[in-house]
Amino acid sequence: MALFKRPNFLLTQSKKRGVPGGLWTKCESCQELIYNKEWENSLKVCPKCKHHCSLSAPERIRLLVDEGTFEEFDPNLIPSDPLKFRGPKSYPEKVLQDQAMTGLKEAVMTGRGKIEGISTVLAVTDSRFIMGSMGSVVGEKITRAIEKAIEEGLHVIIVSGSGGGARMYEGCLSLMQMAKTSAALAKLSEAGLFFISVLTHPTMAGIMASFASLGDVIVAEPRALLGFTGPRVIKQTIQQELPPGFQTSEFLLAHGMIDGIVERPELKKTIAKFLNYFSWGRR
C-alpha cells in the first residue's frame, strides 16, 4: 500500500542536536538514545522509560489494521479559509506547510479496515497537523465516517491525538464540529452500534470535550496528557502548583474517566476483544 511508503518524519526529526545521521532516535522523555531499528520494533515506545511517542495517522493505522485491508474514505477533502484568517501566518500557508511536513491533506484519516478480521470504521487524528486540531474537514470526515458505519452496521474506533482542540483558524465553524460529531455519535448509538475511543498523547480541549469523551469504551495509552483546559492555563488561573500526574492517563483512570490504560503493543488485541464482546451479546 502506497499509503505507508511516505518518508518517516518522526525519524528525520531526530537528526537535530547532533544525533548521528538518522541512525539513532532520542527519546523525547528520558533523552535515551535508541537505535532506530529497535525504536521501530518497539512501536516508538521507549524501551527505557516506556514513553509512548506520538504516531502519525498512517503509522497508527498500520499498527491497528490488518495488513492490506484499509480503504480510506474521503481522501480529497481539504480546508478552505472561510474567515480569511489574518494571523502571523495565513491559514492557507499553515495548511500548506503542514501538508508538506506530514504528507497528509488534513489532520484526520478515516476509512474502513479489519481489526483481527473484524470489519470496522476508523478515524485517526494526526497530532502533527496543526496540532491535530479539528476544523471543518476533520469534523466532516469523522461525521461521514460515523454515518458510513451506521449505513454498513459497523462499529467505530476513533484514535484521538490533538493538543489543539477546535481549530482557531476556522473560528466558530470549528466549534460547531464538536456538536456535529457528537450528534453523529448519538445516531450511531441509537443504531445499536459501538464506539471505542482511544486517547493518545495529547488529547485536549474541543476534541476531548466532544467525540473523544463519548466512547462506549474509552482507553488511553500510558502517560498521555488528557483533559479540557491546558495545564499551563489552569496553573496561571489558580496560581498554585498542579498535583503530580495531573491530567495524565493514570489520573483520568483514578478519577473514573476512562476504562483502562493499554500499552501500545497490546492495543490492537485489546480493541479486538472489545469488538468481540459487542457481538457476543444476545440482541
Binding site: I78, R86, A179, S182, A183, A209, F228, T229, L242, F246
Partner: protein, 357 residues
Amino acid sequence: MDLRVFCLHLLALGGGPQSGHPPHCKKIFWMNGIMKELSLEFEKPIVELENRIAELKKFSEKKGIDVNQEIKALEKKLDQLRREILEHLTPWQRVQIARHPQRPYSLDFIHLMMEEFLELHGDRRFGDDQALIGGFAKMGNRHIMVVGHQKGRDLKERQARSFGCAHPEGYRKALRLMQLAEKAGLPILTLIDTPGAYPGVGAEERGQAEAIAVNLREMSGLKVPVVAVVIGEGGSGGALGIGVADRILIFENAYYSVISPEGCASILWREKGKMVDAAESLKLTAHDLFSLGIVDEVIEEPAGGAHHNYEVAARNLKKAIEHHFSELELVPLQQLVEIRYQKFRKMGVFQEFTPEQ
C-alpha cells in the same frame, strides 16, 4: 480562556459600585450615576454628554428655568451618538461590551421576561453549580425550562458564581433539567454568557470535557424545541455545552468564539496584547456569525448596548424567543430532531476535489 486576565479585567473596571443595590433589581436607573466610573474608553463621549444633560436638568430644577427644549435636543443627540459609536465598534470593543460588568445577566433577563421562575438545584452527583442556573419558568402564555450561565455582580457573588465559568456539575445539572423538560414536553431556553468552562483542578478531576461532550450528544436528540441565545459571552466549549439548539440567537454586542481573543493572541501571536487583532481575525461578532450561518438571528440592543437599558434589551429578547418558539412548535417532534441534526450537520466550510484520473 484565561480566567486570570478576565478577573483582572473585571477588577480594573471597578469592583463594587453596586453595593446597596439588589443584584437583580428591575430598576437600574442608578446606573447612570456610576457610568463615569465604569465606562469603557470608547464610551467616554457618551458619558460626557450624559453628564451634561444631568447637569442641565439639575440647573433647571434649581433655577426654575425651563430648558426642556434644550434637554430634548441633547437627548436626541445622545441617542444618535450611542448609535454612531455602536455602529463603528471594532470586534474587540464589542467583546468589551459583552463583558461589561453592568451588562444584564441571565437572572436579570429571567426576572424581566418571566412571570415566574422556579429555580431547581444540583446535579444529583456532586453539587450545585451557581455559575449555571436553571428552572421552570412562565414566559407570556408559555411554560418553559430555562437554563443559563450566571455571572455575579459584586466580588463575593462573582466568586460564588465562578465568574460565569461552569464546572462539570453545572453542565450535568443543565442536562438534568433539559431532560426533565423533555419528559414534561416543555420547550427549552438556554442563555449563554460565559468566558468559558471553568479551568481548575476539580473541574478536570470531575470530567469537564466529558460533561460538555455528553451535553452536546444529548442535546442533539432532545424531543422538545430548544432555543439558545448568546446574551453576552459565548466562550467556546463552555458556551456550546448548553448551545446545541434548533435556533441560535445572539445579541448584537455579544460574541461567540472558539477561543478567547486573549487565548488566541497568546497562542498564535505569542503576545496577549494582540487580542485586538485576534478578535478581528476570529470573526466572533454577531454579524460575522450570522454571515457564517452559525446564528439564526441577531437581536438588536438598546442604543449604546444592553447595559444602557435592561428593559428594552429584555423586550427585544423576549420577542425574538417567542417568535422562534412559535415557529418551532409547529414542527412535529420527530422531524424537529432530524432538522436539528441537519442544522449542525451542514455547518462547516471545506473543499472537495475530484482526483485527476
